[in-house]
Amino acid sequence: METARFLLSRFAQSLLALFCIITLTFFLARLAPGGPFLDEKKIPEHLVEQMKRNYGFDKPLPVQYAMYLGRLVKGDLGPSFGNKGFTVYEVIAESFPVSAMLGACGLFLALALGIPIGVFAAARRNTIVDYALMSLVTLGICVPTFVVGPLLGEMFALKLGWFDVALWENSSAWILGSVTLGLYYSTYIARLTRGSMIEVLSQDFIRTAKAKGVPPLAILFKHAFRGGITPVVAFLGPAIAGLIGGSFVVESVFGLPGLGQHFIKAATNRDYWLINGTVTVFAVLILTMNFLVDVLQAWLDPRTRANR
């Protein structure tokens, strides 16, 4: 009952946050100087006026906002100015799978690599193994994705020819992309896991378990792991936001036609509805992830529920 109420309030808060994000991006994009019709080719003034009328840009901003919300509720994201003949929905439907694949594989790799490294380093705390692993991890944090990406591309795609570079069609460049993303986030996860595992391992109930003669591996995985993993779960929310930001870079490095590429182009060209559409997708993703994290945390750690 308590849990249900907690999750319900979290859900309501997510909806409120989504509304705030949609509103903020609408006004941020619309108040920006310049506009979608400022082409290199000089369009006659009266044509620009007519286009503005067509799209309803001649009306006052609050009216446009209300119209936008009305269309959004019906699921209509509007046309894309930068991709002639395409609606925003079509652009997103085409590019979203690319980004989703990239992000999902990256996240999986980050977890699959980061958690074992963190647990292992914590179990061998203050030994040479621990120091070596943690130095490597700290080094990894400081080499940004936009250096690792080109280097991986150079090595595995150009020199060794294992992967294609760029071009999404039937290409394996996305593998390098997700490896780039995954390696970077695994460093954060490894550090977090190590820190929280060490904290859990120094608690009294672990000493009791040791005194009872529970084998070390069982202590590590049956007793400590559940508590030690909670901060990592909490990190998944920010990690998704970070992965989205990271995918902008990776998509640009490997030339993958994902959502990030479209978003950046839309932002620089003032493709209003595409900006709003992509940001809405990003926001829904982040908020869904945050909500799932809350659910997971409530399940892993009953204290979370009581504290709210």
Partner: protein, 322 residues
Amino acid sequence: MLSPAPAKSTTIEKGSSLGRDAWLRLKKNHLAMASLWFTILIILVSFLLPLVPGIPDPNTTHPDLQSMPAFSSATSMDGKEVYYLLGSDPLGRDVFSRILYGGRVSLSVGFLATFVSLTIGVIYGAVSGYLGGRIDAVMMRIVDILYALPFMIIVIILSTYVAEMGDWKPVRFLNELFGNSLWLLFLCIGAVEWLTMARIVRGQVRSLKGQEFIDAARSLGLSQSRIIFRHLIPNTLGPVIVYTTLTVPAVMRLEAILSFLGLGVQPPDASWGSLIKEGADLMASDPGLLIYPAVVFGLTLFCLNFLGDGLRDALDPKSSKD
């Protein structure tokens, strides 16, 4: 105001201040100290070395001296002897001097944006924690909602403003004052980076308000300002300093990503991010263009992170027992 402490009390008990303790602990951490010296060195070199007369201009192109190797010297068309410490790029610009100037941009953005976020975060957090009650709840809910914002996206949208606001009068004035439109960039980054700082300061202020040592200080008859300046603020300062040190590399990374995506520094100006981008494009033909700025950038981030970790160990009251 603070009244001068009676001389007697200082002779009886030679107290060791929090800052001094922390400094002693930090000095024992060789890695953190090395990081500190390296950071200071990088800052001094980036800001002072370009003032030395012999250093070439980072934006001067030499069409006849393209892609020179490192440690080479050549005579340019106008008969001048040019020495390339780290070679030149395909436009004949000196890579070493571009890295120096790029460092100036990257470090300024890092520190100034951090300063913006520090100011907003500390004030917001302290007000929220100090007032408490309903105002605190509302203020923290706002932070919660902002946390869910994809802030990288907001920065990108804001940074596209930068390119097109040059005609607006106040913007033009500030552009002329700073020499370019970078100030808008660090304002944008600072404006979205303050959330964690606000949470940290609020938490500190709230927990300190009710602690025994504050009661003890009060019952000893210390003045209000002495309690605030000698007992409350030094205790919030620890986490604030640590988090500030860790924010600088985060902000520098963000600036580098923006510049890499072509949204930050505009050519011919350079930052470490834009230099890495130029290098990544030409990696196959001239790997040095990528490697030199990437190594300098990576080392700087590495040191700032280690310095932050070292400061955390030094300033954390929990670790002061061992």
